[in-house]
Symmetry: C2
Subunit: 351 residues, 2 copies
């Protein structure tokens, strides 16, 4: 599987900047001062470059929510019990979670993938079952997963992107569910950004000071134990990562390979992006940072990817909630690009 993955990532190319000038020419012909719609114009231009078309459409939008459990919850690093992971999956499937509400608001589909939840679900409930394991092992004591499982979980994500594109999805967003996953994400953040654990570790779902100190201690112990090597992203993922983070990394690789934009969410999705960018640096051309999370590590991780978040709404829910708001802004930018009248058409005097 690792060989297959390495062959796949080799095909990911940077976006064609040849289209940038064409997109800018059109944007500047529209009835507004040049550049006055700021980042909406940037989003439109980036989309044109990804699609390599002068007037691309943006139809179906989908957020893929990867869910998995984390053995590290045994260390008392989360404010919520592990069963919340599977309970929230039922909530997703019934449409009652934050991600369902916000996805409906922006007109995006929600796909929920069991990539590693510690629970057996009934068949035919609308869940995409791609369970690689019943959660990770406790990364403070042993490798979170085998290297083979890490590669398999990444591949699950690649396939979700491929299937989405085959079904006509034009823009993807990454979401996550997994009690304990900010611990794994912070560990990945510390490894890939080479910053101290305390700088990239936050309160997750809302832990108190003693639990935060414990969480930082757990991650430091794990890094001392595994000594992960940032230039071996799959090895890092296996030692201190999570299955949903691996799935997100794969979704990013799949989106980039297909020339589709991928909207990042917060800490968890961005940890997946750090893995993906080590496997294929060109993926950052396809990444759009939807928002800045309250988690202190998030901005550090975005900075290391060279991404600037669109929104800063003090959110920290995960699930893809920030990412789908970003999908809405991407669509707004493309509508500006496609639907606004030009100075010539509207008979408006230009500068």
């Amino acid at each position: 599987m690792e060989y297959r993955l390495s062959q796949f990532v080799a095909q990911i190319k940077p976006v064609s900047t040849a289209w940038l000038a064409k997109a800018k020419e059109r944007l500047d012909s529209l009835t507004k001062p040049p550049g006055s719609l700021g980042r909406l114009e940037e989003l439109a231009a980036r989309y044109v470059c990804m699609r390599e078309e002068l007037l691309p459409t943006l139809g179906k939008k989908r957020v893929v929510v990867f869910a998995a459990d984390h053995g590290v919850v045994a260390e008392g690093v989360s404010a919520f019990p592990q069963e919340v992971t599977y309970q929230m999956i039922y909530n997703f499937l019934r449409g009652g979670a934050g991600i369902n509400v916000l996805a409906r608001h922006v007109g995006a589909e929600v796909e929920v993938v069991d990539i590693g939840v510690n629970h057996d679900f009934e068949p035919d409930i609308g869940l995409i079952s791609r369970k690689v394991a019943y959660g990770t092992r406790n990364l403070a004591q042993q490798e979170a997963m085998s290297r083979e499982d890490a590669a398999r979980a990444v591949w699950v994500g690649v396939e979700r992107a491929q299937e989405a594109v085959a079904q006509g999805v034009d823009a993807l967003a990454a979401g996550d569910m997994g009690i304990g996953n900010t611990t794994a994400a912070a560990a990945l953040g510390a490894v890939f950004t080479e910053r101290p654990v305390a700088a990239v570790t936050g309160r997750g779902t809302g832990i108190d000071d003693p639990a935060l100190r414990r969480k930082i201690g757990v991650i430091n112990r794990a890094l001392s134990l595994h000594r992960p090597e940032p230039n071996d992203p799959l090895g890092v993922l296996a030692s201190v990562g999570g299955l949903e983070i691996a799935g997100i990394a794969g979704l990013i690789l799949g989106a980039a390979a297909a020339g589709r934009p991928l909207l990042l969410d917060g800490l968890i999705a961005t940890a997946g992006a750090l893995v993906a960018a080590r496997l294929a640096p060109a993926v950052t051309d396809y990444l759009i940072a939807a928002h800045r999370s309250v988690e202190p590590g998030h901005q550090i991780m975005l900075d290391s990817l060279g991404l600037s978040p669109l929104l800063n709404l003090q959110m920290r829910l995960g699930e893809g909630t920030g990412a789908v708001l970003g999908l809405g802004l991407l669509e707004a930018g493309l509508k500006i690009y496609r639907e606004m009248a030009t100075f010539a058409d509207a008979g408006v005097a230009s500068k």
Copy 2:
């Protein structure tokens, strides 16, 4: 008219904070860590307080775009010629401007009001004709408008809010069109925030350095000539304001009096808010700062109102384009509040 206005503003009350605890209780019962949807939760709670209902609906949304001309364009303070104001009105009415595209995106209606355009429009073209004058006079040389006209223009805005509410509009946004209006808005900003003109004056539609210096000089001259007194908001408006800014001030007063939220746009709308807040300080309870404009004076003006912008997308178009994106976020917040499942309903374990 001034007496009528003073009687009207006396009825504007601060929002009832009694509803805040009730809104927060519901928000914390929803399947998410408490507070994890950040400013979306804040928007929902503020809306509940404004509506004084536990489960208010948010149906129709409307942006009111006030258009007017400015005599000060004779000083060479704008990158575009004056006729763009009326030409853009035709663009608005045909649906081809930025505000039309973004209003459609968020599902908001667009109302265009001629409150002072230097052009005679044909009847029955879908324009709300409330022309107070054919633009203002050159504020560098004389009072921009009479005190009576300033009061009349504010009243036009009050009536637009009242009519919107009568037509079932639940949330309003303020927009503007008027070549030269960043000069008037910066002058108002300097007076009400008591900051130097150079600190609150920017490039508007995109003037170069010599024109920017000229613009700052023009505003300084006007302030020396008129010596406007910040505690006389109508007098300030008359001496250095604009008719569309007056209309926006009125729209804000009307929205606040009816208990409806008003989404501010950029520099122009916020100048209107400064006027409105001097007439009735409680209006700030009903104001939502949708975005932070590139114009340097905007954040200074928002700070003086105690408002924190939701978005920072490097926009500077005006027309209400930032404000309608804010309407979309307000609606997202209210949907979270109304549509998410509770921990009890979803069978999810809480903290």
